[in-house]
């Protein structure tokens, strides 16, 4: 099973070599039963392409949007998401937890 580093580091390396800007999102805190543990990473490039995951798929879209703003502004930010029961059901997770995600630009 690949570790997070094995999964997201090679794409980050390639994006950097192609001159693309890269942002890194990390789950830093979870409450209740959240889909991905603390430390889970999602890496995003300036084209909106991403690797890794910070949830079971419920919040990735929102995180990518925020990451593109962080790339433009340069200032890191913390995001909080409540994974509603409805969303959880849609992606097949009966979780209803909350997560805090830190997004930073590689610079």
């Amino acid at each position: 099973m690949p570790t997070d580093a094995e999964e997201i580091f090679p794409p980050i390396r390639r994006w950097r070599a192609s001159g693309l800007q890269v942002a890194l999102a990390t789950v830093v805190q979870t409450w209740g039963s959240s889909p991905r543990p603390e430390g889970s990473h999602l890496a995003v490039n300036e084209r909106g392409e991403f690797v890794g995951s910070v949830s079971g798929g419920c919040i990735e879209g929102a995180v990518v949007t925020e990451a593109l703003e962080v790339l433009a502004e340069g200032k890191p930010r913390s995001l909080e998401f409540g994974v509603s029961d409805e969303q959880a059901w849609e992606v097949g997770l009966a979780c209803g937890g909350r997560v805090r995600v830190f997004v930073e630009r590689l610079e």
């Binding site: 990390t26 830093v28 590689l106």
Partner: protein, 231 residues
């Protein structure tokens, strides 16, 4: 994150070195700990550094307890299980441990035993255990199990393991076999350390088939990894 910090993380991962990155969420300031040195703009107090070290040993990422807004991301290498003796039990233990997330290394100087045919997807070393273990460089994320039934092979491996910071050491054999082993190790001057050896090896699940013994060994290794000795 500075690219320089990411490069260090990437290099550590490639070299199989465990590292921890501490981030102050308020402004993104960071410091990286590679098991020996701290590098970065974020200054941590002595007890905070000690706490990060403990989190890294358990591979537990999360907010640093007792600190305001400091997040610790642990990039720990996979734990290793070093199996001495390419025996029948090993043929079950190696794939089970791989599935459980361990990097598995099988050591046996008898080439007919340690054949790639019998052990797919694991690292095989067909050298004498003391030589092989020197090559492996046991660390605090390593577990060692001897399964050869032969003191000529088991003892040198146990002697090397007892001199290392391996978190788990286990040896196959009955209580009577183990008593004789303790006597030999005591003679070799390791009497005070021999208590670290788990023997008879494995949790007492009641099964006696090789595949069942493999489960009991793996279960004990995982238990000691998370709960520590004396659990």
């Amino acid at each position: 994150m500075k690219w320089a910090t990411w490069e260090r993380l990437d290099a550590a991962a490639a070299a199989g070195i465990s590292a921890a990155l501490v981030t102050r969420l308020a402004d993104g300031a960071q410091s990286l700990f590679d098991g020996e040195r701290w590098q970065g703009a974020l200054d941590l107090a002595g007890e905070q550094r000690a706490a990060v070290r403990r989190m890294l040993a358990a591979d537990k990422s999360g907010m640093l307890a007792g600190a305001e807004g400091l997040f610790v991301r642990c990039y720990a290498r996979a734990p290793r299980l070093v199996v001495v003796g390419a025996a029948h039990i090993s043929q079950f233990l190696a794939p089970m441990a791989t599935l459980a997330g361990f990097e598995v290394i099988v050591i046996d100087p008898r080439r007919a035993f340690a054949s790639a045919e019998r052990f797919r997807g694991v690292t095989l070393i067909d050298a004498w255990p003391d030589e092989a273990l020197e090559q492996v460089r046991l660390d605090a994320t390593s577990a060692v199990v001897t399964l050869t039934h032969d003191p000529k092979l088991d003892d040198p491996a146990l002697i090397a393991a007892l001199a290392s910071p391996a978190f788990y050491i286990g040896a196959l054999g009955s209580s009577r076999t183990h008593a004789k082993r303790i006597a030999r190790l005591t003679e070799a001057g390791l009497g005070d350390k021999a208590g670290r050896i788990h023997a008879p090896v494995g949790l007492d699940l009641g099964g006696r088939a090789p595949r069942e013994i493999a489960v009991s060994i793996l279960a004990q290794v995982i238990q000691v990894r998370y709960r520590g000795e004396g659990s």
